[in-house]
């Protein structure tokens, strides 16, 4: 494999909960608890897991929208965590984010043109007003909207159109990496397909790299080259997407895959029902985080944290018993 575009190593983010009269940190939420992965240029890495497992926090830490507690993030070999001031601003040109909720991620008081044009102004990518307008018009056309629509306000658009605006804003700075934080979960199924196809087309055309965060496995399977499965702040399995879907190794991945709905009522299959709820990330279980719900757990799972170890071509799993 050639040099990765993004390398994340042992990333941790703990949120302190303050309490007591002195506002001391009394508890910590282990949102991201030692996550490592690489993304190659032009690749799409899917990041899946249920709500609250730390997917979005991971994405935001990569972009430094949240300051990680510890760990390394390297973009094109440069240390992202240590960046300050001008360096960080320049980094913002290379990495962008598309948010989950297109209704919350557009400023309701700015026109679409102003929203997209702002990126150009911040990074001085255009010299004057008409140049900004031309660029905004081109971006709108690129994401399938009309250039006249730049005078409109976000509330005049539907959810899918708004998500296109969000994508246009992210593209304005010509980034290399886009973190897509559940970009389609707020949309209708029919619109989901359109937006996914748009993202794929743009990836081809502009040679983009995606970190694609989602909880919908079928969406991720469609768009990703590789998929990483997260559970309670840790990656439990990471594999090329075909391989993962055909041959899941981790018991959690198996359970997740068995829950994907199949739009065919005649198909019968074994549904793996997990017992109990996701444990509280304030007090995650010892050893393997999944041991409280694992159907195949042994004593070793409660004592030792399983390492993410390779099995065969690019398939990694963090389980004492499998792989």
């Amino acid at each position: 494999m050639n040099e990765p575009l993004l390398r994340v190593k042992d990333l941790k983010k703990y949120f302190g909960l303050k309490g007591g009269i002195l506002a001391r940190e009394v508890e910590r939420v282990h949102a991201v608890d030692g996550v490592s992965f690489d993304i190659a240029p032009g690749e799409t890495l899917g990041l899946v897991g249920e709500s609250g497992c730390g997917k979005s926090t991971t994405g935001r830490c990569v972009l430094r929208l949240i300051e990680p507690t510890s760990g390394e993030v390297a973009f094109e070999g440069k240390d992202v965590i240590a960046m300050q001031g001008e360096d960080l601003r320049n980094l913002r040109r290379d990495m962008q984010i598309v948010f989950q909720d297109p209704f919350a991620s557009l400023n309701p008081r700015m026109t679409v043109g102003a929203i997209i044009g702002e990126a150009l102004i911040i990074h001085k990518l255009a010299n004057n007003k008409s140049e900004i307008e031309d660029r905004v018009a081109a971006l709108l056309q690129k994401v399938g909207l009309k250039s006249e629509q730049m005078r409109r306000y976000p509330h005049e658009f539907s959810g899918g159109q708004r998500q296109r605006i969000v994508i246009a804003r992210a593209l304005a700075v010509e980034p290399k990496l886009i973190v897509c934080d559940e970009p389609v979960s707020a949309l209708d199924v029919s619109i989901q397909a359109q937006v996914i196809n748009l993202l794929e087309d743009l990836q081809q055309e502009l040679n983009l790299t995606f970190l694609f965060i989602a909880h919908d496995l079928s969406v991720v399977e469609h768009i990703s080259d590789r998929v990483a499965v997260m559970y309670l702040g840790r990656i439990v399995e990471i594999a090329p997407s075909r391989d993962l879907y055909v041959n899941p190794l981790h018991p959690y991945t198996e359970a997740l895959l068995s829950a994907v709905p199949i739009p065919d009522p005649t198909v019968k299959r074994k549904r793996i029902m997990l017992q109990g709820d996701v444990p509280n990330p304030i007090n995650p279980p010892s050893g393997c985080h999944f041991h409280t719900r694992c159907p195949i757990k042994q004593d070793v799972c409660m004592r030792e944290v399983p390492k993410l170890k390779p099995t065969k071509d690019g398939h990694f799993v963090a389980c004492h018993l499998r792989g």
């Binding site: 948010f99 700015m110 006249e148 005049e156």
Partner: protein, 310 residues
């Protein structure tokens, strides 16, 4: 934000594709659709013109004492009647209105500017600074206002008078004192708005684009926080006009011979049963000023909120 109705998503008005377009023009177009606000703006304009130009047309002196016409009701000679010294109330109101309105508007501006700045800093700061500013706000809220007013005015009146002249000095002092004691609710309002807005995804998106903190505040947070502030500001105008009259009553405001609206109201209170007109006209003037400014504030808030279809 609160209470505003998100508009339906389909507006295919031709206005959006007009060749010439500016946010200011658009806001004005939207403001004009708010009937009550436009009427209010008209009334306020008439009042302002009256107090600015009125004294040139209604040439009755404000301090001409005529005991033969004491407490007379409205007549052709004295359209608003006379007070206990037979002075013409219309002339006095035209003169005093300048001061009352100027004090009201200036004090509101002071309160809003100070409150917004302090609230914004407190809302953006995650550390001790925000907490310290909120303590300061609470401190000001808990101070007994009247003794403080007395103290400040006694301390600074003479030096300000020396610099800006008797009327100018008192004006500046009163505006600062009234504005300086009314910024706290605005600061709390702005801070609360900032606390919720700064976590919104569109602000995060601006951060992801590399927007400076200043840009985040000025372009993204502040415009979305201003709706309630405008309303609070218009209410402050009324409070400031009344506060000025309280000060005058205590002998701390303008000299007693300057007939501000609040002053006229206070002077009239002992004669309410025999000369109601004396209280009625200044009271109406204050009421009209307050109500119209309030409606204008309403109209402004809606005109600046693009989500409302107007």
């Amino acid at each position: 934000m609160a209470g505003s109705t998100p508009a339906s998503p389909t507006v295919d008005a031709g206005a959006a594709s007009a060749a010439r377009y500016s946010p200011g023009l658009e806001a004005w177009r939207r403001f004009r659709k708010h009937k009550l606000a436009v009427v209010s703006a008209g009334i306020l304009l008439v009042m302002i013109l009256a107090i600015l130009l009125g004294p040139f047309f209604w040439r009755v002196p404000i301090n001409e004492i005529d005991f033969s016409a004491r407490l007379a009701g409205p007549s052709w000679k004295h359209p608003f009647g006379t007070d206990d010294l037979g002075q013409d109330i219309l002339a006095r109101m035209l003169y005093g209105g300048r001061i009352s309105l100027a004090v009201g508007l200036a004090a509101m501006l002071v309160a809003i500017v100070v409150g917004t700045i302090i609230g914004a800093i407190a809302g953006m700061s995650r550390g001790w600074l925000g907490m310290a500013l909120m303590w300061l706000t609470d401190l000001f809220l808990s101070l007994p206002q009247l003794p403080l007013l007395l103290l400040v005015i006694y301390l600074f009146r003479d030096s300000l008078k020396a610099v800006f002249g008797p009327e100018g000095g008192v004006f500046i002092l009163i505006v600062l004192v009234i504005g300086g004691l009314r910024w706290m609710p605005v600061a709390r309002l702005v801070r609360a708005q900032f606390l919720s807005l700064r976590e919104k995804e569109f602000v995060e998106a601006a951060r992801a684009l590399g927007a400076s903190r200043r840009r985040q505040v000025v372009r993204h947070i502040l415009p979305n926080a201003l709706g309630p502030v405008i309303i609070a500001g218009t209410i402050d105008v009324a409070a400031a006009i009344l506060a000025e009259s309280t000060l005058s009553f205590l002998g701390l405001g303008f000299p007693p011979d300057i007939p501000t609206w609040g002053r006229l109201l206070f002077d009239s209170k002992d004669y309410l049963d025999i000369a109601a007109h004396w209280a009625l006209f200044p009271g109406m003037a204050i009421f009209l000023a307050v109500v119209t400014i309030n409606f204008i504030g309403d109209g402004l808030r809606d005109a600046l909120d693009a989500r409302r279809v107007l």
